[in-house]
């Protein structure tokens, strides 16, 4: 698809930068990488200084000024919240009960997150809802994120659970490769119906055992999935549609048909 066909010849479509998946392990790896880079920079400065000093001594000049090791600045009040070890009893209990199925769990800014194995999510949701010590009765939100740069997964689906009786919240997430069909949360929370339709509409993630998995926001004949990162902001040619062309009174999308778009696109994304 050329830029002209996207209706914006003046604007190149480029892949937006994606943030890494938040998590304790990723954060620690990032911190270690930063520390290693700092250390390498300091070693380079030191060796440069030694070389300059030796050269100055050989030439009989004054020795250059010695470098000072930079001290990390103390962080102010506006410190970004970092992920920390989980202390929350709910998270610990989840780990106790499900073991390996809880792939990662951490707290950040007072919010609890657990990453669940994608084939166990239904079980975990049911446990969170029904267990007398958990009682997360409400699915406050279900949404997804696209991570095109990640190697072993493409999407994360995030469940925001709320417990009205305990005034607590819990976030669960699963990581999915392209084309994976996740068990629908409607089997535990009926309110997940429209959330999952929206996720399907925007990302093309399909859900097993969902009562009515159709588009909910976009028109039924919409092409592709708009919240995927590779989707251009100006759309895939929808702006070429000139509704004024049709004088007969019925609104047809002639330009779209001429451009070769089919009517309804419910293609299953392939895993390549």
């Amino acid at each position: 698809m050329t830029n002209e066909a996207q209706g914006r010849p003046d604007r190149a479509v480029e892949m937006p930068k994606t943030v890494p998946l938040p998590g304790l392990e990723a954060y620690r790896a990032d911190q270690q990488a930063c520390a290693a880079a700092e250390e390498a920079k300091w070693q380079k400065q030191l060796s440069d200084y030694e070389a300059a000093k030796a050269k100055a001594e050989a030439e009989g000049k004054d020795a250059p000024k010695a470098p000072v090791k930079p001290v990390a600045k103390p962080e102010g009040d506006l410190k970004a919240p970092v992920p920390t070890e989980a202390q929350d009893p709910d998270l610990l209990r989840l780990k106790d009960v499900f073991g390996e199925a809880v792939e990662e769990f951490f707290e950040q800014a007072g919010e609890c997150t657990a990453q669940i194995a994608r084939d166990r999510i239904l079980e975990v949701l049911r446990f969170c809802r029904q267990d007398p010590s958990m009682r997360f009765e409400m699915l406050a939100d279900e949404t997804a994120t696209h991570y095109p740069a990640a190697s072993d997964f493409a999407f994360s689906v995030v469940y925001h659970l709320a417990s009205l009786s305990r005034s607590k919240r819990l976030r669960l997430r699963v990581l999915l490769p392209e084309g994976f069909e996740l068990e629908s949360a409607t089997q535990v929370h009926r309110g997940a119906n429209w959330f999952e339709r929206e996720i399907f509409d925007m990302f093309g993630i399909r859900f097993l055992n969902h009562p009515d998995l159709t588009r909910i926001l976009c028109p039924e004949d919409w092409e592709a999935f708009p919240l995927r990162k590779e989707y251009p902001v100006a759309g895939l040619g929808q702006r070429d549609i000139d509704f004024r062309e049709d004088r007969s009174g019925r609104l047809t999308r002639r330009a779209q048909e001429q451009a070769g778009h089919s009517a309804i696109n419910l293609k299953i994304p392939t895993a390549d």
């Binding site: 708009p226 251009p232 759309g235 609104l251």
Partner: protein
């Protein structure tokens, strides 16, 4: 003396009770002073439109206070808000259900040009679907702006000529 008086007064009285004008002008005047808008809001501009209709701004002074709930009884469509591609066929259908003569006001940045929604899902101006008479800038425009636009529309209606409006019909009949 009495005969003379009646001869003087006769034409004066007649001038007091008669107006000479054109049929077209009378029709335009009646249309411009009783424009019935359609109850039709798409987004936040509709809130300003409601304010314009309520007592503080009182759209009714201009003859446009009767918001009709059916396009069949409306003369004016105020497109107040963001037009999405999913909504476009519905707007077009409503416009076509309105009887002639009919006018359209595109209210606010979204309806005139897509506004801040330079995206895949928003029609970049409602004039891509229906012919627009008046565009109002603003995000959202204040009720005063809508009233000003409506007065401009009244000017347009008053200056309208039936010959122009139905030119293609006349040409079809003649040719």
């Amino acid at each position: 003396m009495a005969v003379n008086a009646s001869a003087v007064q006769g034409p004066t009285l007649l001038e007091n009770i008669l107006i000479t004008t054109k049929v077209e002008k009378v029709i335009n005047w009646s249309r411009a002073t009783s424009v019935w808008p359609m109850t039709f809001g798409l987004a936040c501009c509709a809130i300003e439109m409601m304010a314009a209709g309520a007592s503080r701004f009182d759209f009714d002074r201009l003859g446009a206070g009767i918001f009709r709930a059916s396009p069949r009884q409306s003369d004016l469509m105020i497109v107040a808000g963001t037009v999405s591609y999913k909504m476009a066929p519905i707007i077009k259908q409503l416009y076509e259900q309105m009887p002639e003569p009919k006018w359209v006001i595109a209210m606010g940045a979204c309806a005139t040009s897509g506004g801040p929604f330079d995206s895949y899902h928003t029609i970049q101006g409602v004039d891509k679907i229906v012919p627009v008479d008046i565009f109002i800038p603003g995000c959202p425009p204040r009720p005063e702006a809508l009233i000003h636009a409506f007065m401009k529309l009244q000017d347009k209606i008053m200056s309208g000529s039936m010959a122009d409006r139905y030119r293609d019909v006349f040409e079809a009949v003649e040719g």
